[in-house]
Symmetry: C3
């Protein structure tokens, strides 16, 4: 069974990018693909863009959609095997996932990292629990360690705005008042490694991503050096992987400014904290792609859902 | 771009009332008007009537609907310009509104007055933020200072039940244990000033509505005098505008009773506190229009959405 | 007006079971029955299976669905007559129900027992409030004292898996860390009394169900004796009816195990606490029907909704 849980779940990236261009031009191109099928979106965490863009994509494909906020509308799930469930968890993932799979042809899951237990987060217990037990294709709407729908929208946007055959793309860490997961950064790196781009990652010491994510890529600790000649600058905060889930650095010098950006395009997955992560002048300036990037979330969700519908039937 | 944010956004009220009669008789009259378009309803506050009637109206127009509770399912928005967002707000209205506008053809907003900062409430920062930044037509589902969907249902109901060419309509303030916004009263007054009715407003001293709302109209502080000869009595609590957001009066003598009502029709937007705002005998009696008025909320939402669809295409 | 609020609302059970088999084989058999009609689902309590299966059933019948969480998205309702509503309740059931009935052709209600006031719970104030005041057919999605959609799915499942003309069915109480309502047990007993089965109920002393539920049936206090020769074992916790809403017994000896089950089928409505209510070996073993039973919730909701659509038009 094919899922869309990782950027590696895209078999042929150039073909997806081409189809994405067609869908951007004609959003109802595949409007009958999902007819008679139901997509259930389960949110364990808050969502704006993912919630709305995935629903919109599903509607454009003719799917029926059911949305559920698992925390407030359901109850706490148990993930461990063999537990005597006499505490705060009311249902095991084995039953919950299998049951949801009875009512939906496709299931989308949003479940963030807890940032307390690295092994648990990187084991992706919620997402993988649904993969193991739901019996239907799963769509990752941002899991503990990855956000492949965002990364696909990132790729579509870079593909659309590239001005050279092999643009320079820089992922630049930024400060943030709260500890955030590594999910967006992980998937962005994994996606860029598959694109025909000159890719650089810059962050302060202590913010190295998980082993395997970077492949052979070495981060550059000097932001100024990393940004030289950039065509696209993708800014994102994440908390430390090494010193797991902690904030090691809040140096405002890492904030993206118009000076640093130069004539590169600015990208961020949103939501973004103005004048902490990035200066107003960048977001409100002519090089910001944040809104077209958000718009591409509908296209990326259509691509992923179409893939699940076409390859699992 | 045309929005439906104020009773003034109705260009030709008699034509709307006539179309409302047609829609009441034939709810699926415009069932293809919204085909292929999406309405996103964003709730910053609780809702029963508005939530369900607007969804129902959208379905009757063939629109696809996405509903989101911004508070519990999203995060806190920032409205100020130039802020360093290192506190409790996670996204600026500039981004949030622009993003929502990428996924929906129409956006409905419900965002009540905070009743702490009069300038902020009357600046309508949430509603106007979406107007400025969403890039799509906005539907006011009750904002800080107005509730034009309610006022349109009020007008439709008075139009249907009027027994004379120019009926006497009285807006009568009522006590309430909690401080409530002026939104419903404001829009009702603004709507009645456009109707061919003999209109009177009665409330205790200190409850004068915002400058401009009343036009040249003078309130009557003596409820008994105001109610004489009334054909329609619209009862509603609001907190003080002058002494902003406070409760100045809880005198039960202002409660509406069957004696005071006489043979006038009783109206209230609901929810209503029985035996505080209005006596059981009125609500359960033959002159109460609260349920037909609630039913007209579907018609008023259809009229407003149809207007947005027809004049913005 | 016909509602589906009790197992007694099924006029002809064998005919429903036969139609259920047809719907299980062909879920879109009645796909045009609900066209142009709207179902509103109101949740006063959390839900997973009921939420999703009822939505799915509605979609399969061509109904439009509106879902609302009454607690978090609305406000507290008043049920008493004549109350002066100056406290925590903002709207009376009379208005709330009548208003919802203006926007929907069918209304589903989920409202659990509070387990504090037995008279109030067994008076079914929420469910019956909607029956009295909504003016449209009501679907019970688990009320204070009954869960007839679950019981119908139970009947469908027993009907499908029965290996003898008159199988032995045992309802076996199980321990649980929290006090749970009697709703599922009540409806299961009422349903089994209408089925052609050899039915036994076993529970510890003090857990007798409400008068009338059991008819002439006598409970067996010895679980081992009750389970002898069982074809189906339905396991469920409930709190005491006599000593209302309390936990009298948490003896782990009442947990269902593979040894006790033998070659009988295991049933539970879910969610279930593993190794408290039932051992892992049972749930993960070949005799567990919990997932097919959950799947039958879609069929049972289709049957009930189809009945409401067909007999109320």
């Amino acid at each position: 069974m094919n899922h869309y849980n990782h950027t590696d779940d895209i078999p042929d990236l150039p073909a997806w990018l081409e189809r994405g261009r067609q869908l951007a031009a004609n959003p109802r191109l595949l409007q009958d693909l999902g007819r008679g099928k139901t997509l259930c979106l389960l949110f364990f965490n808050s969502s704006l863009r993912t919630r709305l863009s995935t629903q919109k994509a599903a509607m454009l494909l003719g799917l029926e959609v059911m949305v559920m906020n698992f925390g407030s509308e359901g109850w706490n799930l148990e993930f461990a095997d063999g537990t005597r469930m006499d505490g705060g968890t009311a249902e095991h993932i084995k039953e919950a996932a299998a049951v949801v799979g009875q009512y939906a042809d496709l299931v989308g899951i949003r479940a963030f990292a807890g940032l307390k237990d690295r092994e648990a987060d990187y084991a992706e217990q919620v997402l993988n629990g649904f993969v193991r037990y739901a019996g239907v294709p799963i769509l990752n709407m941002e899991s503990a360690t990855g956000h492949p729908l965002q990364a696909l929208a990132d790729a579509l946007t870079i593909d659309t705005y590239r001005r050279t055959a092999r643009p320079k793309v820089v992922l630049s860490w930024a400060p943030h008042p709260r500890a955030l997961p590594q999910a967006v950064a992980n998937s962005f790196v994994q996606m860029m490694r598959r694109m025909d781009v000159d890719f650089t990652v810059t962050h302060p010491p202590g913010y190295d991503l998980a082993p395997g994510v970077m492949g052979g890529l070495q981060p550059v600790y000097d932001q100024k050096e990393a940004l030289q000649g950039a065509d696209f600058v993708y800014v994102k905060n994440w908390s430390s992987y090494t010193d797991y889930g902690t904030i090691l650095n809040q140096d405002p010098a890492w904030m993206m400014t118009a000076d640093k950006l130069g004539d590169a395009y600015f990208m961020h997955c949103l939501p973004v904290r103005r004048n902490v992560v990035v200066a107003d002048a960048v977001l409100d300036g002519p090089r910001s792609l944040v809104i077209p990037l958000a718009a591409n979330r509908t296209v990326s969700a259509q691509l992923a859902l179409a893939h699940l519908l076409e390859t699992n039937s």
